[in-house]
Symmetry: C2
Subunit: 203 residues, 2 copies
């Protein structure tokens, strides 16, 4: 089991945005969509043993559960449409603290980074903070049941850093990379360590 918690700082909290303008009026939702693709999409299948938490402005958590996920395609626009559907379901919900499944495998509820951290901790995952000043992932001892926390195109806020400072920091290389590219590298490192066969990815 691997989880990725991605912080979206400017993504809208309502479905009123255009799928034609993900980097603009949708607050760089394109970044989060590529993170979802990087987390789940293999060349011919979905990584079923992955959970993604998109934390929107520390107010809403959209959870993608690979074991139940359907209708996920690798392109940004269709993923954004799924998130838009989730936000629509959320806006119509009377019990926003309760998770609602908007499409198979996609759940939405009020919540923030602390809620996502609590869930992965409760699930027994070891949390790592992906951070440019961390120790090298290649040299690190890595638990195979792990959750990784990343930010979108913006830096971690002080209140986020305060929640994260108790976790070990891992860095991936000498350059500052996009969040989705970080997810690709983490998966590759864990795949190599696990020596996973392709047959482990269900179609």
């Amino acid at each position: 089991m691997r989880a990725f918690i991605v912080l979206g700082h400017r993504v809208p909290l309502t479905p009123d945005f255009s799928l034609n303008d993900l980097p603009g009026s949708a607050g760089r939702l394109d970044v989060l969509c590529r993170c979802v693709t990087a987390a789940f999409c293999l060349s011919h299948g979905i990584r079923r043993d992955v959970i993604v938490y998109l934390v929107l402005q520390n107010q809403i958590v959209v959870r993608f559960d690979g074991s139940r996920l359907k209708h996920l395609n690798p392109d940004e626009r269709s993923t954004a449409a799924l998130i838009q559907k989730a936000l629509k379901a959320f806006s119509e919900s009377e019990h926003r603290d309760r998770e609602r499944e908007s499409t198979p495998g996609i759940f939405i509820a009020a919540g923030g980074l602390s809620d996502a951290l609590e869930r992965v901790t409760r699930a027994g995952l070891t949390v790592y903070w992906l951070h440019e000043q961390g120790s090298s992932i290649r040299q690190a001892e890595l638990h195979p049941r792990a959750a990784f926390v990343l930010s979108d195109h913006l830096e971690f806020l002080p209140e986020e850093a305060a929640l994260l400072e108790r976790f070990p920091r891992l860095s991936l290389g000498p350059l500052s990379l996009h969040a989705d590219h970080c997810i690709v590298i983490v998966h590759n490192e864990l795949d190599l360590r696990a020596g996973l066969a392709s047959s482990d990815a269900l179609p």
Copy 2:
């Protein structure tokens, strides 16, 4: 210098496609757009020392030159719009064998895989074929001036494989990955070997 040659087997050869349907009527152009992003985009800058060749149906080559590239954003739609502009310039060109610069750093001409291979070879780059049956990139001797050949969502065609079989094959891990994710992993491997500092990426 790093180069990536990406084969697009179904991408249209004319600009008559909708930016709203990259995976459908645009023949999985979304894959190629993500490859361009993976090849060039750092968190805060562009990798200037990279060239990408998109080979469309073995008939047109779109060349992205990082040293001159402008207007490149990380999202799929805006990259697809740049490719669409290039195809428009190509359709209006009277000398299609001659490269034409459609926007800064993006060039288009008639050509196929063999032309792209000839250019990178002439530039003194060592060519590697990214292939699931290759030897592990982590154990391989890698020339820092290298070109890597990848396919979109489809397998290499027999005529492509025939052109590539003289080059060493490299594999990246135990799972079959999207082409753009392969580019991310190759960059990371070379970044780590070069110990590049962030300052090497020009804004």
